[in-house]
Amino acid sequence: MGKLALTALIGALLELDNFSIGMFLISQPIIAGAASGFLMGDFQTGMQIGCMTQLIWANTPPFGAYVPPSSSAIAFITTALIVLMKNSMPGVTALNSIMMFCLIGGVAVGFFVGQMDIWNRKLNIRILHGFENKVREGKYGYICLINFLAVMAKLIRDFILYFLILSSSLPLIMRIYKTLPNEITEAFKISWWMMPVIGFSVIFDMFRTKQGSMIHGITLLATYIIFSFCRINISFFLPALFAVIMLIVYYTVWEKGEEA
């Protein structure tokens, strides 16, 4: 129980970086998933889930008053649920089905955390009104108090939600999973196989330009062919790719701009 409470607390603290404090990117799924995996005892699953959710929900920026579902919560809770399920079913082979099943649960939690953010923002209005007169009198301490209460409200809400899910949802999700027909677990396996491609499509859609689409196609084909014959050496591959990109960008964007 102590481990679950610590995991829930770390998850709630990471969630603060998502919008309330800093936005340094440390709450993003690749880190949140890995942190959850590390705390729950399966680091690799956390990384896998983190990468997957990172790409799929990359295009949910906090524009103005729009509150997107929390991708950090999706990665964090999905990882924790997978580890809990794996620990309760030793020797299980249908791992991909379990991962997809937990991802669906994690997505639901991500939406709920987004909804809780809306509630928090409504609560912040009441906190502001409660101390506004004191602030207008020039009392700096009350500005800090408003910030503190708003952050604590979010932290406590997220912690309670995470802790409740981690400590009490296992029997229910195990029961649901075990009663699923074979076709559905097979369908989860197929869905899991497609998940990275959804993520790639999202990024493609974000960066889409006519010229970019052509370059993407050429790079994809070239790297696929090259790596079909030789082993990937990432410390060589990424800098080389980066150098090529820089040349393309220079000649297609900057030199053209200077000529114009």
Partner: protein, 260 residues
């Protein structure tokens, strides 16, 4: 009036990390803005309590812009505040109109540069490194460091450059901003993203271990087809959450008709 030095501005910049802490649907980032600028106002008005209260009442009103570009607003407003003379209605109105006038353009630049450019690029690089190098601590460290650096280094430079420039040379600030070639920068970011995505996808299709079909090549071709279909759906403005659940529904149909 006490002199506003580098450390006061730096402290304001640090406090800007809490701009969203008490975000509310009524006046959005007003508490965060007041919290960030308070130490500057305190120095500007020094022993003039009524001047300070007047400034606080001015700045507890509506404020909303991009979190990393808010530093420019803090710098400009602090400079205008330090130039104000007591009971100068004209200056009061000037501060209000300047604040309202700069929020929109700063938000527009920040949203497109960070939320649609640098953030997805940074996360794509991080996730790509992890996908290609396998799920180990070494690859996580590499992926996370690259992600955080690509996103946080420009963010820190832009934030503090704008803060200092806005305070010490605010007349020149908007001319300087207009000189920055945002269109070219965005084009470059998008091209880099597309090229990186192509490379990462090419590598991923080679290193992936999960196959639905026995033949690796046909498996890859099928994934590329799915990628194109999802990309087309996203181009037609389909929401990613709908795509996610549509993929699951499609997988269930496939599992029941036993095609794969």
């Amino acid at each position: 009036m006490k002199k506003i030095g580098i450390f006061s501005l730096l402290w304001s910049g640090i406090k800007l990390n809490f701009l969203h802490a008490a975000w509310n649907f009524e006046r959005l980032q007003n508490v965060g803005f007041l919290y960030a600028i308070y130490n500057l106002l305190r120095r500007i008005y020094d022993k003039n309590k009524y001047g300070l209260i007047g400034a606080i009442n001015r700045h507890i009103s509506f404020f909303n812009t991009h979190i990393f570009f808010a530093s420019a607003a803090v710098g400009v407003i602090a400079k205008l505040e330090s130039d104000i003379k007591e009971d100068d209605e004209k200056k009061n109105a000037e501060i209000e109109s300047t604040k309202m006038g700069i929020m929109g353009p700063l938000a527009a630049i920040g949203d497109s540069l960070f939320w649609s450019g640098l953030k997805p690029l940074a996360l794509l690089l991080g996730a790509g490194i992890i996908f290609l190098t396998g799920f180990s601590m070494k690859s996580l460290t590499g992926g996370v460091i690259v992600s955080l650096a690509v996103y946080n280094i420009p963010r820190l430079i832009i934030k503090y450059y704008l803060l200092f420039k806005a305070y010490y040379n605010h007349g020149d600030l908007f001319t300087q901003i207009q000189k920055i070639k945002f269109q070219e920068i965005m084009k470059s970011v998008k091209l880099i993203g597309m090229c990186m995505l192509g490379g990462i996808m090419g590598g991923f299709f080679n290193v992936k271990q999960d196959f639905i079909l026995q033949n690796k090549f046909i498996d890859t071709v099928l994934l590329v087809v799915i990628f194109l279909l999802i990309t087309e759906a996203l181009r037609r403005k389909t929401v990613i959450n709908h795509v996610f659940f549509a993929v699951i529904a499609f997988s269930i149909i496939l599992a029941y008709v036993r095609i794969l």
